[in-house]
Amino acid sequence: MFRTIIGLEIHAQVMSKTKAFCSCPADVFEKKPNTLICPVCTGQPGALPVLNEEVVCLALKGALALNCEINKKSSFDRKNYFYPDLPKGYQITQFFKPIAENGFLIIDDQNGKEKKIRIRRLHIEEDAGKLLHIGSENISESTGSYLDLNRCGVPLIEIVTEPDMSSPEEAKIFMEALRDNLKVLNVCSGDMEKGALRCDANISVVDEEKNYSSNRVEVKNMNSFKFVEKALFYEKERIIDELKKGHDVKFETRSWVMPDKKTVSMRSKEKENDYRYFPEPDLPPLFVSDEKIEIIKASLPELPRDKKLRFIEEYNIPEYDAGVLSSDLLIANFFEEVAKYTNRPKESSNWIMGEVLRMIKEENLDLENSFLSKELFQDLFKLMDGKIISSKMAKDVLDYALKEKKLPSVIVEEKGFKQVEDTELITKIIQEAIKKNQKAVDQYKSGKKNVIGYFVGAVMKETKGKANPETVNEIAKEMLEK
């Protein structure tokens, strides 16, 4: 038996207005290179950092949501190393005394089991610039490199977990749960593809029969939730293979290479930089008052998992649906609005889980500025209740309603969307179909009940989808069983 042990180090870009230690704007994504810079973030000689109060508040928000203990006195340190994207030659971070420690996040693992992932520490630090290499992804093989300092000084919180995850899937679930939390808190956009949320992992495998633990491998460059799982799965298998052969893997840092779908060695841990950490003399210690902690605690919104549990309890919807609906604040709020107004939580959930999410994903629907509203769904539900339209027709009606910004009842009126309840017509169509396909009737009679779909389909085709599927089903069943 092999047991996998995974711990994560996450960097989240903090959504403050300005950078961590200067007043340049912090939102630098895809801005013109080297335009959002100043003496402080470009490390001009003589320039000094000044801590951004907003970053502290956002870090505290994150820390409290992750159930951390807040250090009332924390401090900043310098992490020294040479790299062209680090203009000061050091990064300001919190090494000796982070702002928060000893937290946890509860997730529901792949089997739906509740699991507590402990957070070792959460601290504030600054991002480095960006290098664009010419001719290669690698600085040493490129013919030249462009340097964009816009990202220098963008605030980050680094979150380090305990090695509490026992599978790549669980690591992915944790990352998604963390993303959902940070998003709801407005601490981080959570966008891994854009680099706003980054994750490095430490993974090792224990051979329980031999009671032997492999070396720890660090995996970097997993820039999507999917890749976190894939890269760690690859790495887990690689380690197990070596263990089975009676070897061990090297204690090293590896990088996930997307095109090849594998991890490759970056450097051995012995070659790791000595970062020469020491207290940052340019910044006084950071004090956080009890009052501030209380104010921020009180301002915390309902967190995704609490919301999920409440949705299950309050609206009696399936756990999976509750999980999806609660992971995004906008969607969660919309769901609650519709559910309460229509007093139809199950249908509201179904429609939002199905049609609304599909439209957001496939059609880039902007929920906030769309024509979708609780009144619209109320209207739609009424049309279905009155059997004026079928649920299948309702999807088309909804489409038109959004496009033309009119209520469903108006669309039904204007476009003549009417469900065919004409039992005579339906019976006639089915009779025709039975005549044409006696084989299907025999099949039905011999027990292949789903052949009924053929007859329902025939009615739908003839009525252009306007027949009430329930009625059609009933009639078809009756006739076939005759």
Partner: protein, 466 residues
């Protein structure tokens, strides 16, 4: 002379600023300076400004900031230091940037990568360092005052060796924004002047709680007060006067002045401060550690001449190897070593601990004493190239370093001369007792035999100009 140039200028500004007291020091001497200063102003086209000297590690738009280093030979200041901005509000502009030991590392200004600065009292001798250029500019009468920076004595030592007043304010009194950092927890900007009133006037203008410097503090510089010498208690550390490296002539000048103080009613207490024997070791663990990090930004990517090595590591190594001078390299290596993870606990962490102990011991002395005095330097200015062993210079810092380690204000003022070279008296008070320190120094400056007609004497070459 009726209404001269500076007088007129100051009157104009008084109307605007309503801070007329700042400029009183100029009234005393505008007559003396007028012609000379006017000539400078015309040459530099500073028709609207009053000049001062600015150490070349303080940024000022329009001027290069070289820090005395080849690496920054062509670095144009990208912004104004807060002190430069503060002085500009009062109509002051730098007349020029003054020479210094490379990155302020040195005690002689011989470590400038361009040329050494000479002492106006004897051009065969060094002016002290690292702010030797600023000291020499004031001592030779070129400017009414100059700014320097002091990490372990870099203002006070050259002030003593050049026979003028040098003041290192309490840590946090003056913004460090725009001062190229050497030892960030020790650095302070301060003035060189020819009398304490001028020191007071300049500090009043440059001191500020600066939102760009998180280590700066809100502190009010008050008017100079009258000090009753009979109420003053002064400590003299035995470790300092019994120090074996203390020159006999300097010691004698110091004791003569102490006698003078006693005659005026000052109470003298000889004290022991055992931790003083660790100040040099502590300083040379902390300052190079901070410096090694502060100077990391000079990696050849953005500053200095780009060399064409084919990879990043080689490029950085070649740049730093060929760009930094020997003393800077020595300290970077020392600092890199003391910060390395294997030695951090044994050296750097321990030094921080000793630093706290030193502060505790000295604060204890201040419980029963207003000031601690000692000679500013154990020797008069050495000859150029006389001292080749860096350790000798490190030891010279013995008398000034503790003020930086504990963040206390300290001032050096000239007393009796030895071999016609100035000797300095060093006075230190508790942190943020700057008002008391300046008032006391102001009270006793006329007890110095070098104080004449309201100013400390300048060498022959210097007086000629004023």
């Amino acid at each position: 002379m009726s209404e001269n140039f500076l007088n007129k200028k100051i009157r104009e500004m008084e109307r605007v600023n309503k801070k007329g007291d700042i400029f009183s020091f100029f009234f005393n001497r505008t007559k003396k300076y007028d012609e000379k200063v006017k000539a400078f102003l015309e040459i530099l086209n500073y028709k609207e400004a009053i000049p001062y000297g600015l150490k070349d590690n303080i940024l000022c738009i329009g001027a290069k900031t070289t820090c005395g280093s080849q690496l920054l030979k062509n670095y144009n200041s990208t912004y104004d230091a807060t002190v430069v901005e503060n002085l500009r509000k009062y109509g002051f502009e730098p007349l020029g940037k003054t020479n210094m030991d490379e990155f302020a590392m040195g005690s002689s200004t011989e470590n400038s990568s361009f040329f050494p600065t000479r002492n106006p009292w004897n051009t065969e001798r060094i002016p002290g360092g690292s702010s030797g250029g600023s000291a020499a500019a004031v001592a030779s009468g070129l400017v009414p005052f100059a700014l320097g920076s002091d990490t372990g004595g870099s203002i006070r030592l050259p002030a003593a060796m050049c026979g003028i007043v040098g003041y290192k304010p309490s840590y946090g009194l003056v913004s460090r924004y725009g001062l190229v950092a050497f030892g960030s927890s020790l650095d302070q900007i301060g003035p060189f002047t020819r009398c304490i009133e001028d020191t007071h006037s300049v500090i009043k203008m440059i001191a500020s709680k600066d939102e760009k410097d998180s280590t700066s503090e809100n502190f009010e510089i008050k008017d100079l007060a009258t000090t009753d010498l009979k109420k003053i208690r002064i400590a003299i550390p035995r470790e300092m006067v019994d120090y074996e490296g203390l020159d006999e002539g300097v010691k004698e000048s110091f004791y003569l002045f102490v006698e003078e103080l006693e005659k005026n009613g000052v109470k003298i207490n000889y004290v022991n401060i055992p931790s003083l024997k660790y100040v040099i070791a502590t300083y040379y663990l902390i300052a190079p550690g901070e410096a090694s990090s502060n100077l990391s930004r000079f990696d050849g990517v953005r500053y200095g001449k780009r060399n064409d090595k084919s990879n990043y590591e080689d490029m950085v190594n070649l740049f730093r190897d060929s760009g930094f001078g020997i003393e800077v390299k020595r300290r970077i290596l020392l600092g890199t070593f003391t910060l390395s993870s294997a030695y951090y606990d044994a050296y750097y962490r321990k030094a921080l601990k000793v630093r706290r102990i030193i502060k505790k011991e000295i604060d204890k002395i201040f419980e029963n004493n207003d000031f601690i005095i000692n000679p500013t330097s154990p020797v008069i200015a050495p000859y150029l190239n006389q001292i080749t062993d860096p350790l000798t210079y490190y030891l010279m810092d013995y008398y000034t370093i503790s003020a930086n380690l504990i963040g206390a204000p300290a001032i050096s003022l000239p007393i009796k001369r030895v071999e016609n070279m100035p000797v300095g008296l060093h006075i230190m008070s508790k942190r943020f007792m700057d008002n008391e320190l300046l008032s006391f120094a102001n009270r006793i400056q006329n007890l110095s035999p070098s104080f004449k007609n309201g100013f400390f004497e300048l060498p022959d070459g210097g007086e000629k100009y004023v």
